[in-house]
């Protein structure tokens, strides 16, 4: 999904930050949905009825019931507990996975935008090269190179994900650097790093943050889940939504809920984050006018 956002969808976000967030129904709803999921993930040990990895080969593939709220899987593990602990894993990995490309992309994007010239030329060609690969082609190949596991997911997503941030920040800086306050700072003899860090970045970073929180975070969750589905994600027996969906697929004709329950969890999480993104975008837009 990188190109979807990576090639600069017209997410025209101005840099002003004002307006009352609680008047934004989308934002409030998004915060509530996402907050609920995060809270459930954090409180997993309290909410879970069982150990998520405890097997019971005598009680496999049970339907939802009083003892197991959402039933059990092929190894007799409690689906509800695995769902909660899976949220912990997937949300944590997605959040960390967003951080690296955010930092790298912001740094390189501001260099490209501020200095222009050959720096810009080289960096933007690098961006073009990364964008020439379909997202999953690169991710899968990189995970093969690095071996499956959490670390590989971070590295693979960082290598690909920085591109979007670099583009967003570069575009914003290109505009912002012609503003008077920047020109004034330059003629005042302030060192370059200071101009970028203190004057430019705070004014242009909001759009990157919105992108990170909504679009990129969703994209990373999808990538993690897809890798889990392909057997290249978080190793078992750790619960993760992707591997839960994959494991349930064998039973799709008899116990369809095994795949659908974690699937719905993914969709709801994406929905919550999208709402936040939409709300923030609206907020910024209204703050400008």
């Amino acid at each position: 999904m990188t190109a979807l956002t990576g090639t600069g969808l017209p997410v025209e976000l101005p840099r002003a930050r004002s307006g009352r967030w609680y008047r934004q129904p989308a934002l409030v709803a998004g915060l509530m949905v996402t907050g609920a999921i995060v809270a459930m993930a954090i409180a997993a040990p309290l909410l879970a009825s069982d150990n998520p990895t405890a097997q019971n080969l005598g009680a496999t593939l049970q339907g939802p019931g009083a003892h197991h709220l959402l039933g059990t899987d092929q190894l007799g593990r409690d689906t509800w507990s695995r769902l909660l602990y899976g949220a912990r894993v997937d949300l944590r990995v997605a959040f960390i996975a967003v951080l690296f490309p955010f930092c790298i992309g912001t740094f390189l994007g501001s260099l490209a935008g501020y200095f222009g010239g050959w720096v810009d030329m080289v960096l933007m060609r690098l961006v073009d090269i990364v964008v020439a690969f379909p997202f999953y082609v690169l991710v899968i190949a990189l995970v093969f190179v690095l071996g499956p596991g959490e670390r590989s997911i971070y590295i693979a997503i960082a290598i690909i994900g920085w591109v979007s941030y670099a583009r967003i920040i570069r575009g914003q800086i290109l505009v912002a650097k012609r503003q008077e306050y920047v020109l004034a700072a330059q003629s005042g003899g302030l060192p370059t790093y200071r101009i970028i860090a203190r004057h430019l970045l705070p004014n242009v970073i909001s759009q990157a943050i919105v992108y990170a929180l909504s679009v990129d975070m969703i994209q990373d969750i999808l990538a993690i889940v897809t890798l889990g589905y392909l057997g290249l994600g978080i190793p078992p027996p750790t619960a993760d939504w992707g591997s839960m969906i994959a494991a349930g697929q064998s039973f799709i004709t008899t116990r369809w809920e095994l795949s659908m329950i974690p699937g719905i969890a993914v969709v709801i999480t994406g929905f919550g984050l999208s709402l936040i993104g939409d709300g923030l975008a609206d907020l910024l837009r209204r703050g400008e006018s």
């Binding site: 999904m1 990188t2 190109a3 979807l4 990576g6 090639t7 600069g8 969808l9 017209p10 933007m124 060609r125 690098l126 073009d128 090269i129 964008v131 020439a132 690969f133 379909p134 997202f135 999953y136 082609v137 899968i140 190949a141 990189l142 093969f144 190179v145 071996g147 679009v215 969703i218 969750i221 999808l222 889940v225 897809t226 589905y229 992707g242 969906i245 697929q249 799709i252 004709t253 369809w256 795949s259 659908m260 699937g263 993914v266 969709v267 709801i268 999480t269 994406g270 929905f271 984050l273 999208s274 709402l275 939409d278």
Partner: protein
């Protein structure tokens, strides 16, 4: 036109970069194609013999040079697994993937245009809010999950479509490829709906439409004849920009639906460490993405002279 030439020149370093990454990344992957072929009977001499046969015993730089040389002559090398030219394999399967991409785009447009029109016809109305919620849900759907749900509903429960495969003949393709294309389209439609809705609302607010309204053009006719025509250009641009997403989607969808396209060939070849085929497929993907992006940029620039890229 100097802009187009400029863009084309910029493609040269990108193309070289793509070949370098493709080549070295695939060779960095641990594992050995000889073991794929020899299985459990792989002995050191047999592996060495195959490596000699395939030229894998040479230094990587020399292998890269040979790869470039061949590429220059339109030769993608010989598939290690099947022992036939990689080009034959790839171009034999390319039509399948192109079918999937085009079918998906058509379905995505068929889904998006009416929805966007409904939404834009009364901004912030109930229908608009409902349509705006679609992308929020759609963007969070993993494609493999959409695929599984569609298979479950329309192939397993209601036997309306085959569960997979490519089918034979135009009718067979249309039927077999419907669910896979719908899967990709469901991922793509949210993006188109978003952009189409915004641009339609913009067009609706423009002087041009006010004039048309004053002339008595109303309702569906206004939307179809005047608004859609003007709003569709940005939507097509969005499609072009998303070609990478489309191709990435086919990779997953071809696997879920067992469609013998180049995405499936690619995954199969990564597993088998069939280097020439992986290189070939990635290059074909890269060329499609770069060319479509270029065309999109050019179209966009020609349509809107204010935009100048790279300045």
């Amino acid at each position: 036109m100097s802009f187009v030439i400029h863009r084309l020149l910029l493609l040269i370093p990108v193309a070289v970069g793509v070949t370098i990454i493709v080549f070295f990344m695939i060779h960095l992957i641990p594992g050995d194609p000889a073991r794929t072929i020899l299985g459990i009977h792989a002995t050191a001499p047999a592996i060495a013999e195959l490596h000699r046969e395939w030229g894998l015993n040479r230094p990587l730089a020399a292998q890269y040079w040979l790869f470039l040389n061949r590429l220059f002559h339109g030769n993608l090398g010989q598939s290690l697994f099947y022992q036939v030219p990689a080009r034959t394999l790839i171009f034999g399967r390319l039509p399948v993937t192109l079918w999937l991409i085009i079918y998906s785009v058509v379905l995505a447009i068929v889904i998006s245009v009416p929805l966007a029109m409904v939404a834009a016809s009364r901004k912030d109305g109930a229908r608009d809010q409902a349509v705006r919620a679609i992308p929020l849900v759609g963007l969070g759907m993993p494609q493999f999950l959409t695929g599984i749900v569609l298979i479950y509903l329309f192939a397993l429960r209601v036997h309306a479509f085959p569960v997979g495969g490519y089918g034979s003949g135009i009718g067979g393709h249309l039927r077999s490829m419907f669910l896979p294309s719908l899967t990709v389209a469901i991922g793509l439609a949210p993006v188109i709906i978003r952009s189409l809705r915004v641009s339609m609302i913009e067009v609706l607010g423009s002087d041009y439409i006010t004039t048309a309204r004053a002339k008595g053009v109303r309702g569906g006719r206004l939307l179809a004849r005047h608004v859609l025509r003007n709003a569709v250009i940005p939507a097509v641009t969005v499609l072009g920009i998303n070609i990478g997403f489309l191709i990435g989607g086919t990779l997953i969808v071809e696997n879920v639906f067992a469609i013998p396209g180049i995405g499936q060939l690619m995954i199969q070849s990564i597993f088998a460490r069939d280097f020439p085929v992986v290189q070939g497929v990635t290059l074909v993907f890269g060329v499609i993405v770069v060319v479509v992006n270029l065309l999109t940029d050019v179209a966009y620039t020609l349509l809107d002279p204010r935009v100048r890229f790279g300045r």
